[in-house]
């Protein structure tokens, strides 16, 4: 086994016993990236020099006898997370040469923990999409089949973990952007509760649903990374004052008698027989583990996507208004005599890609005079109904289980219609709208392509979600399969 294939837990033992060094571990990841990323295109920026320097520093700390769960562990971060002195592009022409002047809180926390940043991963421009095809630079390929997408928007991070470029990666999830690519790439993708992890230094998309979370090889590794990045942050006033649990301790508890709910709306005739079979297998495993499984009805869940595609564009159209190419960012060629408005129109018209433009326009429309009540207010009202429905169910049941995605990874270029692409988020938007924690764990393969199940918990019950996921993982082998690339 190559060192880059290790889980965090395995590497931790070896680093602490001094059978390997952080430099050796980092070098193994760098070798793998250099050999394979030509095929996958998961990375926008590789930070070889700084990574090796960080690894050396970690070895020095280890030599002094310092302990730390992530000390010397190499990782990758999605390129919408600010990294001081390192290019942070959000996969947009608008910020192609932008270097972040400070670190996102999550990056600062990982730095302090001694984790080693290997580089920055590809995404759909400003995280708008479900395939990485909206990246202004290139499309990342799925390690299980390079003619297919890795999912998105955190597609670069999910593909990189699946291909063992790193021991873990960070993604961001607004409506499914960690969970759906995790499902497509057969890795664990976790979206914490809204407010559990600081958003400071994450380029804002939908400020009311954005969350940063880990993508890992095992559920236990997710628990470990979450402990390191979660918590109150004075730079993000929406972070919760609620105590961060010892997730690793909680996940090993069994799930005998735990109540699992299956919303019948997520198991309708639109689910293919193959996906249905995967879900049946997964549910049978949960039953074998002692969980009590019941069918429930969530009648408003079907409005998740239409609500999401009003709320998200509305918020991001405001958030992206700051990018005008005047002080920094993309600037078009200006000619004398142009007005300020002409300059804005050119910079933004040329700097943003098609999906960003569609979403900015959709949001601007939904917020404009005369349409605000019909769209924005209506969507927010339905959002409240969705949240109440989920919250009430999670008072009666410990977790809700659904498929993560309606199908396996699709071919690059196959989804040409934006509306079809929006429907990719069909099972993942509702927990986002309600701010709930949710994880995607590998649950099987259909014709060689992976697919995951989604486990949703009550707000701030990260422990419960990871406990069910870990129990499921210990009786299944899906997460052990490796893509041949």
């Amino acid at each position: 086994m190559n060192l880059n294939q290790l889980t965090i837990k395995e590497a931790r033992k070896m680093l602490d016993k001094k059978t390997i060094s952080a430099v050796e571990l980092t070098k193994a990841c760098l070798v793998r990236i250099k050999a394979t990323d030509k095929k996958l295109q998961a990375l926008i920026t590789l930070c070889e020099k700084t990574a090796l320097a960080q690894a050396k520093a970690a070895d020095a700390r280890l030599a002094k006898g310092e302990k730390g769960s992530l000390l010397g562990i190499p990782y990758l971060a999605k390129d919408n997370l600010l990294t001081k002195g390192i290019k942070t592009t959000s996969a947009s022409k608008m910020l192609e040469n932008y270097v972040a002047p400070y670190n996102a809180t999550v990056i600062a926390k990982l730095n302090e923990a001694g984790a080693v940043l290997l580089g920055k991963t590809n995404l759909d421009e400003f995280a708008h999409g479900a395939s990485t095809e909206n990246s202004a630079f290139f499309t990342t390929k799925n390690p299980w089949d390079t003619t297919r997408v890795p999912g998105g928007s955190s597609g670069g991070s999910a593909a990189a973990v699946a291909a063992d470029f790193c021991l873990f990666a960070l993604g961001s999830d607004t409506g499914g952007s960690i969970r759906q690519p995790a499902s497509f790439c057969s890795v664990v993708g976790f979206k914490p509760s809204y407010g559990r992890v600081s958003r400071h230094g994450l380029m804002s998309m939908t400020s009311s649903t954005d969350v940063i979370g880990p993508i890992t090889k095992t559920v236990e590794d997710t628990a470990l990374v979450l402990e390191a990045i979660a918590g109150l942050d004075s730079y993000d006033s929406t972070t919760a004052k609620i105590k961060v649990d010892n997730y690793r301790k909680n996940i090993v508890k069994d799930i005998k008698g735990l109540k699992v709910a299956l919303p019948k709306e997520c198991f309708g005739p639109e689910l293919s027989p193959e996906v249905k079979q995967i879900m049946d297998q997964a549910i049978a495993e949960l039953k074998k583990l002692g969980a009590k499984v019941s069918e429930i009805s969530l009648p408003h869940i079907k409005y998740g996507v239409p609500v999401y595609y009003i709320v998200t564009p509305s918020e991001l159209s405001s958030n992206l208004a700051r990018l005008d190419g005047l002080r920094y960012g993309y600037r078009a060629k200006t000619t004398k005599g142009e007005s300020l408005n002409d300059v804005y129109l050119k910079n933004r018209g040329e700097g943003f890609g098609p999906e960003a433009k569609r979403r900015i326009m959709l949001g601007t429309y939904a917020l404009s005079a005369g349409y605000y009540d019909a769209y924005y207010k209506k969507a927010q009202s339905v959002r409240i109904l969705i949240s109440q429905e989920l919250n009430q169910s999670l008072e009666k049941y410990d977790v809700i289980v659904t498929p993560t995605s309606p199908h396996t990874a699709f071919k690059i270029g196959a989804q040409k219609d934006p509306l079809q692409m929006y429907l990719e988020d069909i099972f993942t938007t509702t927990p986002s709208l309600a701010g709930l924690p949710a994880v995607s764990v590998p649950a099987g393969f259909i014709e060689g392509l992976p697919i995951g199940i989604q486990i949703i918990g009550a707000k701030f019950n990260e422990s419960g979600v990871l406990q069910v996921a870990h129990n499921f993982e210990t009786v299944t082998e899906w997460h052990k399969a490796k893509a041949k690339i």
């Binding site: 002080r327 300020l340 433009k357 769209y375 339905v382």
Partner: protein, 97 residues
């Protein structure tokens, strides 16, 4: 919901996006299709929803209004991002008419 060309022009202007005629037509059609899909929300009865309901727990998080000193290298990187600098000031194109 279908948007005519004048409506899509108005939205593009409000969005501060300079678009070609071809783009306007193309995005107009796509946005009309998306809005038609979103129109299914009208079937949900939301009359009884209290729109002042808060989705989060936080309410008025206060902080001291104290400036935090930036690290010097961070300040330098931030200024390096400027498209033009003159006498330590960010220089922008002349835009006043």
């Amino acid at each position: 919901m279908s948007l005519d060309i004048n409506e899509i022009k108005h939205i593009a202007a409000l969005s501060k996006l300079g678009l070609s005629e071809k783009e306007l037509k193309h995005y107009g059609e796509q946005l009309s299709a998306v809005l038609s899909y979103i129109d299914q929300l009208t079937e949900v009865d939301t009359q009884k929803v209290e729109t002042s309901t808060r989705l989060g727990e936080s309410y008025n998080v206060w902080a001291q209004d104290k400036p935090v000193v930036w690290e010097e290298d961070g300040r330098e990187i931030a200024l390096d991002q400027a498209l033009g600098i003159k006498d330590g000031q960010v220089k922008v194109p002349r835009v006043l008419e």
